[in-house]
């Protein structure tokens, strides 16, 4: 099952789109479930997913919340602070490092440095980095697909 809980409109539209390839949709959901059950904190993952959704203007993704992250304590108040992650004291070192990595990934992935990966590895371990970067490429695809195929309500 997809770890995000979409609003009704998003769920309906995405199901209609992915219904064209149900086997692929199931494999995609399994991948996402495996990522959310993996080594990286669901709160960190959700903050990164939402930051990427903001940068890519994915209205569909911004309307969703990860139940695992909410259960782990992520609140709407903290999500509202996300644009101020570099300076707001509520963000941990792990969250800052991961969100910064997301921004570099979206803006210009070719400029990700050895130091960026080293910092990430120190916090997440190699297993966590493989999990995290796989999450990034999967969300990147999902956000762009949602935008291109008008999954969000506002696209009507």
């Amino acid at each position: 099952m997809d770890p995000q809980v979409p609003s009704d409109g998003v769920a309906r539209r995405r199901a209609a789109v992915l219904g064209a390839r149900p086997e692929l949709a199931a494999a995609h959901e399994h991948l996402m479930s495996t990522i959310w059950a993996g080594r990286v904190s669901p709160v960190t993952l959700e903050l990164c997913r939402l930051r990427m959704a903001t940068l890519l203007a994915s209205e569909a993704a911004l309307s969703e919340r990860s139940p695992a992250a909410v259960e782990a304590g992520l609140t709407e108040e903290r999500i509202a602070l996300l644009p101020r992650w570099p300076t707001d004291p509520s963000f941990s070192a792990e969250e800052r490092t991961c969100i910064g990595f997301v921004e570099q990934f979206v803006i210009d992935h070719n400029q990700i440095s050895d130091d960026d990966v080293y910092a990430l590895t120190e916090l997440l371990t190699a297993e966590g980095v493989v999990t995290f970067t796989t999450a990034l490429i999967t969300w990147d695809n999902q956000h762009r697909l949602d935008n291109a195929l008008h999954v969000a309500d506002a696209r009507g």
Partner: protein, 65 residues
């Protein structure tokens, strides 16, 4: 673009490469590979079209692999 891995090999005695680095997270990579196999193996687009799309994507993103 460099293709030198920035993560260690998860296979003792084996050099770091795309296969051995991915094994640091075997469950995630198994799920990814399963999805990729479905993506490549079915649907209405032929393998020639999919390979052309993959290569164009690699060019646009600067992937040396």
């Amino acid at each position: 673009m460099s293709t030198t891995p920035r993560l260690p090999s998860a296979v003792e005695g084996a050099p770091a490469n795309i296969v051995t680095v991915r094994r640091n997270a075997p469950a995630v990579m198994a799920a990814f590979d399963a999805m990729y196999a479905v993506l490549l193996g079915g649907g209405v687009a032929g393998m020639d079209v999919k390979e052309a799309m993959r290569l164009r994507n690699a060019m646009a993103s600067g992937c040396g692999l």
